[in-house]
Symmetry: C2
C-alpha cells in the first residue's frame, strides 16, 4: 500500500464530480467551469481514460469551432448498486459515474416480512457482485423509515421494528449507505430536480406522515447519526394527541390521512395514503373542509420552516402536491400568513418535486459522492 501523494487526484476528483452532477457534460464545459487550461484538460482526461474512469464520445457539433467530446463513464469503470425499498415493492439499478441508471429492476414484495425482504435485497447485491465483480464499489439503499448508522429505527409504513440493514452487504466487504427515502429524494431534487442550483433547499414529502430534509449545496443535513429530517415530529398542534413516535402534538398528525379521518370523524385508516387519495376525490362539503384544515396546517408548518431555515426554495412531494392543488388559496394564505414579515416580499417558491425515482437517484448521488473523492479514486487505481 503505497501512500497517496497529496493532490494527486484532486483535479480528477473535481472532473468526476462535475460528471456526476451534470451527466452528459462536455469536456470543454468541464474545463470552463473548473477554469482548466486546455492543456490540463487534455492531461486529466487522458489520465482518467488510462485508469478506466471515463471515455469520450464525439459531441454533436454546437456551431463553429472544433467539436468537443462528451464525457461518459468508462465501460470498465466503477459502479454503484442503488436500491429503493418501498412499502409494496423494491427497485434497483446499477449506476455509473455519469449518473446513468442501468439494469433497472422492479419487484413487488411477495412477503413483507423483514427477513424475506432483506434476503431478496441481499440476493440482488450478490447478483450485482457476480456480474460486476470488483467494479461494484458500494451499495446505497433508500428506506421509508428513520435510519441511524445503517440501522432502521422505525418504519411506520413497513411496520417493521428496529433492524440492522448491513446484513444485505455482510460478507461482501462492500460499504453500505442506507438513508431515509425522503432525505434521498431531497438530494435528487436539489441536484437535478426542481431545486437544482439552490444553496439552501428544503424538501418535504407526505406519504404517511411527513418526511424531508434540509439541503445545503445539495448535501443533506443528516445530523449526528443520520436521523435528521424528521420535521413531522416538531410540536405543532394539540398536545393531547399522542404520536406513535413517542412525542405529543406532532405536526405529522395534522397533515396526512390520519388527520383527514379525524376531521371526518372516522377511525384511523388502514392505509392513510390511499385514504387521502380517496378523500381528495370527494367533492362533498365535509371532505373539502377536512382537506382545507390539513392544507392549512401544511402551509403554516412550511412557513415556520422557512422562518427557521431561510431556504431559496422548497420542494414538496408525494401527497403534498395534490393536497396543495386541492386548496391552493388556503395554502397560499396559510403559507404567506405564517412567514415573518420581511419574507413576504418574495416568499421562497414551493415547487412540486419533479423526479419520480427520487430516492433511487438520491441514493445513487450520495454513493457517487463517495466514489469521486480523492481517496476512492486512489483506491480504485491502486486496485487495478
Amino acid at each position: 500500500m503505497n501512500p497517496v501523494r497529496r493532490g494527486q487526484w484532486q483535479m480528477a476528483s473535481d472532473v468526476l464530480t462535475q460528471l456526476t452532477r451534470q451527466p452528459g457534460i462536455t469536456r470543454a464545459a468541464v474545463a470552463r467551469t473548473l477554469r482548466l487550461s486546455t492543456g490540463s484538460a487534455t492531461e486529466v482526461t487522458a489520465r482518467l481514460r488510462d485508469v478506466h474512469l471515463v471515455t469520450e464520445v464525439p459531441a454533436p457539433s454546437q456551431g463553429r469551432g472544433r467539436p468537443t467530446t462528451l464525457l461518459r463513464a468508462h465501460p470498465e469503470g466503477p459502479v454503484v448498486l442503488a436500491l429503493d425499498l418501498r412499502q409494496s415493492n423494491w427497485r434497483s439499478a446499477i449506476v455509473t459515474l455519469d449518473g446513468s441508471l442501468q439494469d433497472p429492476e422492479y419487484r413487488r414484495h411477495r412477503s413483507r416480512r423483514p427477513q424475506v425482504v432483506l434476503n431478496n435485497l441481499r440476493r440482488q447485491v450478490e447478483q450485482a457482485r457476480q456480474q460486476y465483480g470488483d467494479r461494484l464499489r458500494m451499495v446505497s439503499l433508500a428506506v421509508p423509515g428513520t435510519i441511524r448508522d445503517n440501522h432502521l429505527m422505525q418504519a411506520p409504513t413497513l411496520e417493521w421494528a428496529e433492524l440492522d440493514l448491513e446484513t444485505i452487504t455482510e460478507g461482501t466487504g462492500l460499504p453500505l449507505l442506507a438513508g431515509n427515502d425522503a432525505t434521498l429524494s431531497g438530494v435528487a431534487e436539489a441536484r437535478t430536480g426542481a431545486a437544482a442550483g439552490a444553496g439552501t433547499a428544503l424538501h418535504l414529502i407526505i406519504e404517511v406522515g411527513i418526511g424531508g430534509t434540509l439541503l445545503i449545496d445539495g448535501v443533506p443535513a443528516q445530523g449526528a447519526s443520520g436521523a435528521g429530517g424528521e420535521y413531522g415530529h416538531v410540536p405543532f398542534g394539540d398536545r393531547s394527541r399522542a404520536c406513535p413516535c413517542g412525542a405529543r402534538g406532532c405536526w405529522d398528525l395534522e397533515i396526512d390521512g390520519r388527520a383527514l379521518a379525524r376531521h371526518l370523524k372516522q377511525g384511523r385508516p388502514d392505509d392513510p395514503y390511499a385514504y387521502t387519495e380517496e378523500v381528495l376525490r370527494r367533492t362533498d362539503r365535509s371532505a373539502r373542509a377536512a382537506v382545507t384544515k390539513v392544507v392549512s396546517a401544511l402551509g403554516s408548518g412550511i412557513a415556520g420552516l422557512v422562518n427557521a431555515h431561510d431556504p431559496d426554495v422548497i420542494t414538496i412531494g408525494g401527497l403534498a402536491i395534490p393536497l396543495r392543488a386541492a386548496a391552493e388559496r388556503t395554502f397560499k394564505e396559510a403559507y404567506e400568513g405564517g412567514l415573518m414579515t420581511f419574507h413576504r416580499g418574495s416568499p421562497p417558491p414551493v415547487l412540486p418535486a419533479t423526479l419520480p425515482d427520487g430516492p433511487l437517484r438520491g441514493a445513487a448521488a450520495l454513493a457517487l459522492d463517495q466514489l469521486t473523492t480523492e481517496p476512492a479514486i486512489a483506491a480504485w487505481v491502486a486496485q487495478r
Copy 2:
C-alpha cells in the same frame, strides 16, 4: 494581476485554518493532524513566515526530543476588526490569525438612535484602518436582529427598523460580514465552546424571544440570505396569538418574559429580559407555576428541534440557562417526553454555553474563515 496557480496556497490555507481553530497549536501538532511530512512542514512554515502570515516562538518542552515551536500570528500579518453591537453597548476587538483578541474596547451607547450608533461603529472602523492600514482586511459585525445580506431586517431589542449596515465600511473598501448575534455565538460555541468538535450542533439563546442556529462542522446554516436560525418563529402554541414577526402562535411567544407576564396575568413588560430575571427571583407559587410553563415549552420545543435535526449536542445561552435551572425536572420531562422514542436511549446533552463573548468570537471566527482561504492568502501575498 497574475493568475493564481491552482493549489499554490492549498497547504498554507490548511495550516492557517488549523491555527485559527486551535490557537496556540504547535507546528509539530499541525503537521500531525494534516499528515504532513516534516519536510513539508518546514517548507510551508517557511513560506508562511516569508509572507508575514505566521511567526514561530519556542514551545515549552514536552518531554524528550527536540522541542517544537508554537505558531503565532505574524506581528505584521493581516487582522480583522470584530464588532459586537448590543442593546445598551457595543464592543470591539482586533483579531489576528491565531484567534487572539487585541485592543478590546467597550462602550455604552450614549444615544441609541441608529444613525448615531452606526456612526460610532464607523469611527471605530476608521480608527482601526488608520492604526493597521492594509493589515486590516475585513470587518465582522454581530447584531441582535435578523440580518439579510448585510441589511438589518428587524431588531426587536434595539427597536430599529430596516437598515443598511454597510454604511459602517462604506468608502473603505473593506468587506463587511454582518451576522445575527445568536448565530455567531453558536459559531463560537461550536468551535471552541461547549459544542466543540460536534458534527451537528444546535445553539439556542433566549433574550427577548429565542434565537439560534444549526451548525454543521462549525459552519452555521445561514440560509439563502443569511436570515436562517429564527427558530422562535415556528408555529408552536396558541394560533390566536399574533407575534410581532407577522406570524401567529410562534414558539417565541411561549418562552420569554412576555410569556411569563401573560401567565401571571400582567401586561407586556417593557424589558422582558429584566422582567424574566425578576420573576426568576420570586419564590411565590404563581411565579413558580409561570416559570414551569415556560420551561416546559422550552423543553418540548428543543425536543422537536432534536427530532428535526438530530444534533450531537445542544447549547443554550442567555435566559435559557437560569430558566432551565429554575425547573430542571420540568425541563427534563418536557425534553425527553418530546423526543422520538429512539432518541430517548441517549438524548443529546443540553449544555449551557460557556463563552461570555460569544458573538464577538463568532464574528471573528467567520471572518478568519474568509482570510484563510486560498484566494485571500494569494491576495495578501500579491498586495505586499
